[in-house]
């Protein structure tokens, strides 16, 4: 079919659409632009936000956007590429992967018998600001957030992952015979058919359950070996020997996973928290110069690469000063 025929069809459809259908076409146009434009920028986002202020536009958009999100799961039908026959392009891999690969080779030479007895693991790594979604043959998906390293068992029967650094969102297809086990910072999470987020922080591990059930166990050699079963909405902070559980409304959990859409949602967040969060995604680092500034709170939805959005909020909403030097953005009174 030539492009002209498509265009004619398009024109006719648009002309013939009733008011609600016309609005759906426009909302779909905007969703596709937002999600597929390679050069989507902050001006585009602002224009979209203004359009979404009208509730009629907003509901048409929400409805189609939710359908697009659901269609994202179709990815599960994509055949998983075999690690050996089809390696991912080297150029896109951050340095850490090459080190990890080199380490594996060294280990294999030094102690091949030990290495061979271990289930073979494949390493996935993302650079700062990068995201990657891994689809397993059983339809489970793992979304790897910025600056993260995950090892995944290459054997389909041993469903095992090790989060070595950063944050990952797991959507695991339940299989009673082969539970999916994630280890991170010495803790073990066993899924019982779930969606959950694991995030490594400076001295603790944060596990948030969105859907289903999961169990977390602290490292075995700790003085007090403890375990907790999570229910949706619960977040567990696991340190070396303790588990602390907090519960939040499930609607708030959407914000925890918003990085998958490339945005961060801040609600009543301090500027210090927001800056720390944004710094995970950007090589340019925000520095809050004084304590009184750090404590200011605000609500905003900011793209993960939105250092500029942040500085605009700081300037326009709080009247703060912005100074750029040596890859740092300094925010002060």
């Amino acid at each position: 079919m030539s492009d002209k025929v498509t265009t004619d069809l398009e024109r006719e459809t648009r002309a013939a659409a009733g008011p609600a259908e016309a609005l759906r076409i426009e909302a779909a146009d905007r969703i596709l632009a937002r999600r597929l434009s390679p050069d989507w920028n902050e001006d585009d986002q602002r224009e979209l936000d203004a359009w979404l202020k009208d509730p009629a536009n907003r509901i048409a958009y929400l409805r189609l956007d939710a359908a697009w999100d659901r269609a994202g799961r179709l990815e599960a039908f994509r055949p998983l590429k075999r690690p050996v026959t089809a390696p991912a392009p080297q150029s896109r891999r951050p340095l850490i992967f090459k080190f990890a690969a080199a380490a594996v080779v060294v280990a294999a030479i030094v102690a091949s018998s030990v290495y061979l007895s271990q289930p073979s693991m494949r390493t996935y790594a993302t650079a700062v600001g990068e995201r990657q979604t891994i689809t397993l043959t059983d339809g489970s998906t793992i979304a790897l957030n910025t600056n993260s390293v995950l090892k995944l068992s290459a054997n389909a029967n041993a469903r095992m992952a090790v989060l070595e650094r950063g944050e990952a969102f797991f959507q695991i297809r339940h299989d009673a015979q082969h539970p999916f086990i994630v280890t991170a910072a010495g803790h073990r999470i066993t899924d019982l058919g779930t969606k959950f987020i694991v995030r490594e922080e400076t001295d603790a591990l944060k596990v948030t359950l969105i859907e289903g059930r999961a169990r977390i166990e602290t490292s075995g050699n700790a003085a007090k070996h403890r375990a907790a079963d999570l229910t949706p909405g619960e977040t567990v902070i696991a340190s070396a020997d303790a588990l602390k559980t907090t519960m939040r409304p499930v609607t708030k959990l959407k914000n925890e996973a918003s990085w998958q859409r490339g945005v961060l949602v801040f609600e009543n967040a301090t500027l210090a928290d927001a800056a720390r969060e944004l710094n995970r995604y950007n090589t340019q680092k925000l520095v809050i110069a004084d304590a009184s500034v750090a404590k200011l709170t605000f609500d905003a939805t900011i793209p993960t690469n939105g250092i500029q959005t942040f500085t605009r909020v700081a300037q326009q909403v709080f009247g703060l000063r912005i100074e750029r030097r040596d890859g740092e953005v300094i925010v002060s009174r």
Binding site: M1, S2, D3, T6, T7, E10, T13, G18, P19, A20, E21, L23, R24, I25, A28, D29, L32, L36, P38, P55, A56, R58, I59, A60, L62, R63, L64, A66, A67, W68, R70, A71, G72, R73, L74, E75, A76, F77, R78, G139, Q171, R173, H174, E211, R248, P249, T251, K254, V265, E267, N268, K295, L296, T297, F298, D299, A300, T301, V317, F318
Partner: protein, 193 residues
């Protein structure tokens, strides 16, 4: 207002760029209202002969639901939505200058059909995939191809254009068409036939 207890804690100095409540209403709308679309569609078709207007009807219902929820958040979604749908349909009947014969079987009998199953509280991943696959099957062929190339194969618009031998604008249009049809297949035509 809605439940802001958590947001209010220590919030004296907070300045809002976006209403907090809106994010919650958006999430509620997607999670609890959209799954009622099949029941609403059936309700409309059952009580209004001109089935062509279903998109406009749904849009009217959703708009009123969304705006009413922003003022006063409902405790129970389903009765809330169907009360609004009922009132809207009654208004339509009263406003219609010429009521088509049998347009409405009986104004008093306007009720949510009792046999429509409620939304599944929990969509199992496997069911979701089966449902998506079935919805994909219903799309117009070109839209289905563009959709599959993007969502399954992970191709960009440019790559799809090459694969389908059409322009990028054509691809965007097919995706637009596909997205609208998919939403209707997923929400409007019921979880089960």
């Amino acid at each position: 207002m809605t439940d802001t207890s958590e947001a209010d804690r220590g919030n004296a100095g907070a300045r809002s760029l976006e209403m907090i409540a809106r994010a919650d209403i958006d999430a509620w709308f997607v999670r609890e209202v959209l799954p009622l679309e099949a029941a609403l569609t059936q309700y409309f078709r059952h009580n209004w002969r001109d089935a062509a207007g279903v998109a406009d009807f749904l849009q009217d219902v959703y708009l009123r639901v969304y705006e009413a929820a922003a003022k006063d958040f409902p405790k129970s979604t389903r009765p809330f939505v169907f009360t609004i749908a009922h009132n809207l349909l009654v208004d339509r009947v009263r406003r219609a200058k010429v009521i088509p014969l049998e347009a409405v079987e009986n104004l008093e009998a306007l009720n949510a059909p009792a046999d429509v199953p409620g939304p599944e509280a929990h969509a199992v991943a496997r069911d979701e995939l089966r449902r998506l696959e079935a919805a994909l099957e219903k799309l117009p062929p070109r839209a289905r191809q563009a959709f599959a190339l993007h969502h399954i194969e992970g191709l960009t618009v440019r790559e799809i254009a090459q694969r389908m031998s059409i322009g990028e604008r054509g691809v965007t249009w097919h995706l637009n068409e596909g997205l609208r049809a998919l939403a209707t297949a997923l929400y409007g035509e019921g979880e089960k036939p």
